[in-house]
């Protein structure tokens, strides 16, 4: 009975656990509860992925109401992969959260923190798993609202304005998506994604659909921080609690990319999106701009969280680029990078969380000489950094391989060179951190620090190790990504 209802449980378990978490007064209890829930969710995601890989698309009707009138949860290889990413990151971040928030959130607020965390977690999973366009909006708002609250919990007072700005821009983005969905409903009479894709073919030429497309792309672009709609991201990631930076950086924007892919490829279809509408050109241009501009800005940042935030904008530019190629290899690149970036950025932000926990600062001046005092943490940072540059034996290399291959296949040589050139920029800002940590003596008067506590260090090392392991064994990532990409592009396997 459980097996048959796994898709529903994927959402119900975290969603119902959130209000339960409020009742748990003790912070340790709340933490243990949150860890248990994320691990259960991860197990469910693994089971779902296994089932999708062997049986094909899973279709689950909520409340046994038949689609397209009822809400359908539809799991194909694409969202099974994203479910795995979100639950995996959640399962790794949650154990670190208790020690991670010690410095930043007062102890009596911790249960509320975990409540919001579980809500955001459930919302992200809901976005991923649903097969209904309006349901997607609802879950989008659930996770976003929880994220706004989480960002606002940051210790620096600028977290509040960052959260407010995130709220305004995020709401506008979600409302745009709502407008788009409304227009789609008006023209087709259905909200079910599979049904929409079938019915849209007949009404593709109408202006209403063009407008709907535009609204949805801009809305999704706001959510995934596509340049130039990224303004909310740097402040939100910099001032939020470090654990939340790690969690959001590795999940929220990835789900944004998923939303874009779902709308562009499944609902609107490749032919409409790329031939009728100039989506390919738009994504190529803005993706490249993101990669270059954001990387350059990252080089000049002294606050390491802000540096990594801009780096994330650049990496999201790559993912948009991959979609813009409208080819199987491009999509493989994006999907693989979804997974890989979650690992890399997760490891980097978690390492920073460890640093902040011990040092109380993530300024580049304060981390001088940290390579000797916190060797494991900095080793994890180096591993994530090398992956960001895209050196072989790391996951970053795999993603870059596919992006450049897609560019070459499309005959877009300059873009291939641009992709490789912009990854050299990552070398500069990672190099700054490595030089500061390993080559410079600790600043005078620095407090003696020891290595990060184990509940924080273990997930950090796990993420760093994963960013190397999956660079060697790509069977899972590339295998699933290829199957998903081929299905999305409509290529017969």
């Amino acid at each position: 009975m459980i097996a048959a209802n796994l898709p529903a449980l994927q959402i119900v378990v975290p969603l119902l656990s959130a209000p339960l978490c409020v009742l748990l007064r003790d912070r340790r209890l709340a933490w243990g509860f949150a860890v248990a829930i994320t691990w259960i969710a991860f197990a469910i995601a693994v089971a779902l992925l296994a089932r999708v890989m062997s049986e094909g698309v899973i279709s689950y009707e909520m409340g046994n109401w038949a689609a397209p009138w009822g809400i359908e949860y539809r799991i194909d290889r694409l969202n099974a992969l994203v479910l795995l990413i979100v639950t995996g990151v959640g399962a790794l971040v949650a154990p670190a959260a208790l020690r991670g928030i010690e410095r930043e959130i007062p102890a009596e607020r911790a249960p509320l923190f975990f409540t919001a965390f579980l809500l955001s977690f459930a919302g992200l999973l809901g976005i991923t798993i649903t097969g209904d366009a309006f349901n997607l909006y609802v879950f989008l708002e659930i996770s976003s609202l929880a994220s706004y609250a989480l960002v606002a919990l940051g210790p620096d007072r600028r977290a509040l304005t960052a959260a407010y700005r995130y709220l305004v821009l995020g709401t506008i983005g979600a409302t745009f998506i709502l407008i788009g969905v409304g227009l789609l409903y008006m023209m087709t009479g259905t909200l079910n994604m599979a049904d929409l894709s079938a019915r849209l073919v007949a009404v593709n030429e109408t202006r209403a659909i063009h407008v709907a497309f535009a609204f949805i792309i801009v809305g999704a672009g706001l959510k995934l921080a596509l340049f130039p709609l990224h303004m909310w991201l740097p402040n939100a990631y910099t001032f939020s609690p470090s654990i939340i930076s790690a969690f959001l950086a590795a999940t929220a924007t990835k789900v944004g990319v998923y939303v874009l892919i779902r709308f562009v490829f499944t609902i609107f279809g490749v032919a409409f999106s790329f031939e009728e509408m100039p989506l390919g050109e738009i994504l190529l241009v803005f993706g490249l701009l993101a990669a270059f501009v954001a990387s350059i800005v990252a080089i000049f940042q002294n606050n390491l969280k802000r540096m990594l935030a801009y780096s994330s904008v650049a990496q999201l530019g790559y993912m948009a680029l991959g979609i813009g190629f409208a080819s199987v290899n491009g999509l493989i690149g994006t999907l693989v990078h979804l997974f890989n970036h979650a690992l890399m950025k997760g490891a980097l932000f978690m390492a920073l969380a460890c640093v902040f926990h011990r040092l109380g600062s993530v300024d580049i001046g304060d981390i001088r000489g940290l390579g000797r005092r916190m060797p494991l943490t900095m080793a994890a940072f180096v591993a994530g950094g090398i992956s960001l540059v895209g050196l072989p034996l790391t996951v970053g290399f795999i993603s870059k391989w596919y992006f450049v291959l897609a560019a070459i296949e499309a005959g877009l040589w300059p873009i291939a060179v641009a992709i490789l050139a912009s990854s050299m920029l990552a070398l500069i800002y990672i190099g700054r951190v490595i030089e500061a940590a390993y080559f410079q003596p600790p600043p005078p008067g620095a407090p003696p620090v020891e290595e990060a506590p184990w509940p924080m260090l273990a997930p950090t090392l796990a993420l760093a190790g994963a960013s190397i392991y999956f660079g060697l064994d790509t069977e899972l990532t590339v295998g699933v990504a290829r199957a998903a990409a081929e299905a999305l592009m409509g290529v017969q396997p």
Binding site: I386, V389, G390, L391, P392, L393, I398, W401, V404, L405, I408, E409, A416, V417, L420, A421, S423, M424, L427, G431, E435, F439, G471, L472, D473, T474, E475, V478, R482
Partner: protein
């Protein structure tokens, strides 16, 4: 042991040595013993592969698949075996030398040094034994990363700046040009395997082949072709044993080895001969030969002079490859070996001089021959090898490259070789001559300058004798090199 097991052992031994060295860090003698044992073991493994390959065998081993169609795979062929032999032999010599140098100079962080040395050798073996471009690229980048802590060993600001130049130039060329070339090759041919006769023959237009040639040659930055050569002199900030092995043997030889391998097994000599771009690249190599020699003349710092000499000598090998004929390729392959022995001797001497006297500039070395006769005699022999005069092995490799230029019908390039040998005399010969025949500029300290520590002497005597042996007994080297075209 079966051949595939030998191949995996060649990688596994230095790789396993790294954590073992860390474990032995408490006792310096035990730690050095680990290195020496690993080096000896590696040499034995590689030597065991020689008869198999000379009999025509091409044993291979596949580790695992990384991407669809691309696996981490190894295959032993004559050129790779030559490189592996040189690297493993000279690892033993350098390890012995390092003991003398590091202890004589009382260097810090010796455990870290020996660990990353072993790691660098593992990466070198990976490059030498790679069966496809993918594997080669992976270990090529791994070598850059593994040698970075060695280059920046001293931890000073200059070391950091030198390391920055090193990393930036090598990574930029490899990612921007080399990787791009690999992806273009992959997309055009569907494979990255090394095959005799190349894989590009009918798969790519002449324009694409020309572009690929340029991308590969400049992308393999470790070959130090101008204008991407600056990392070599910048890396001289490293301790001398690092310069000796890595920049006379492992890193730079990995570069020219990769160029030769790509030329022979990806392009194919015949395909290359058919496009005019190969002649242009030969001229680019010629420019590097002359320009680097001229710069070497102006450098007073001994290691800097040797660095530019290396840049020039590496271009010989690139030239040999770009001649697109068998003689040039064989000469280039032989030069990998002869230059390795010659140059490492020179670096060993430079380091020995530094340990014994703390002198780094050529102008300070007058009259040193009286006090350090063995060192300066070895320096003399090493110089002869680099210049290409008998009785040292450098003669034979230059001979074959020169024959290659004649075969390619280019008297210009032959003239370049001759002029370059002349320039070599001008910037190398004065050093031992002044050391033996001039009076010292300053009064020696009271206790006098002794010879270098004995492990250093053993190493440099060994390498100079090796260069001599290559002169007297070149046949095995020649046979190994010409086995490249056996089929």
């Amino acid at each position: 042991m079966s051949a595939p097991a030998l191949i995996l052992a060649a990688l596994g031994i230095p790789l396993a040595a790294t954590p073992l060295i860390w474990l032995a860090r408490g006792d310096p003698d035990r730690r050095e013993a680990v290195t020496l044992l690993a080096a000896a073991g590696l040499f034995a493994v590689v030597a065991l592969l020689v008869p198999i390959v000379m009999n025509g065998g091409r044993p291979g081993a596949v580790l695992f698949k990384v991407l669809p169609g691309l696996a981490l795979a190894f295959e032993v062929e004559p050129l790779g075996l030559l490189f592996a032999l040189i690297a493993s032999t000279l690892w033993i010599a350098t390890s012995v030398y390092s003991i003398g140098y590091m202890r004589g100079n009382k260097e810090q962080h010796q455990t870290r040094y020996y660990m990353f040395f072993a790691l660098a050798l593992a990466a070198t073996m990976g490059i030498a034994l790679a069966a496809n471009l993918f594997t080669l690229f992976i270990f090529y980048e791994a070598l850059t990363i593994a040698t970075y802590p060695l280059v920046t060993h001293k931890g000073t600001d200059e070391a950091r700046a030198g390391g920055r130049t090193y990393l930036t130039i090598l990574l930029t060329t490899s990612i921007l040009f080399f990787l791009l070339a690999i992806l273009l090759t992959w997309q055009a041919t569907g494979t990255l395997d090394f095959r005799p006769g190349g894989i590009l023959a009918d798969q790519a237009s002449p324009t694409l082949i020309a572009i690929l040639l340029v991308l590969y040659t400049f992308g393999i930055g470790k070959a130090a072709l101008m204008p991407f050569h600056r990392w070599l002199p910048a890396a001289m900030i490293a301790p001398t044993p690092v310069s000796a092995l890595l920049h006379a043997v492992a890193v730079v030889k990995a570069g020219v080895f990769a160029v030769l391998k790509v030329v022979i097994y990806i392009f194919g000599i015949d395909t290359l001969a058919a496009i005019p771009a190969s002649r242009w690249m030969a001229y680019a190599a010629a420019v590097t030969i002359i320009a680097a020699s001229l710069i070497a003349l102006t450098r007073d710092n001994l290691k800097a002079r040797l660095a530019y000499s290396t840049v020039s000598q590496l271009a010989y090998i690139v030239l040999g490859a770009m001649l697109a004929n068998r003689l040039g390729a064989v000469g280039g392959a032989m030069h990998i070996a002869t230059h390795a022995f010659g140059k490492i001797t020179l670096f060993f001497c430079a380091g020995a001089i530094y340990v014994a006297t703390h002198k780094t500039e050529v102008s300070q070395l007058d009259g040193l021959g009286r006090r350090m006769p063995i060192t300066m005699a070895a320096f003399f022999l090493g110089s002869l090898s680099i210049i290409g005069l008998p009785p040292m092995g450098g003669l034979w490799s230059k001979w074959y490259i020169a024959l290659g230029t004649l075969d390619a019908g280019s008297l210009t390039l032959l003239a370049v070789l001759m002029v370059s040998s002349l320039l070599n005399i001008f910037y190398l010969m004065p050093i031992p001559v002044r050391a033996f025949f001039r009076k010292p500029a300053e009064v020696a300290p009271a206790e006098g300058i002794r010879e270098a520590p004995w492990p250093c002497l053993v190493a440099l005597v060994f390498s100079s004798l090796g260069a001599f042996a290559l002169f007297v007994y070149p046949a095995p080297l020649f046979r190994l090199a010409s086995a490249l075209f056996a089929n």
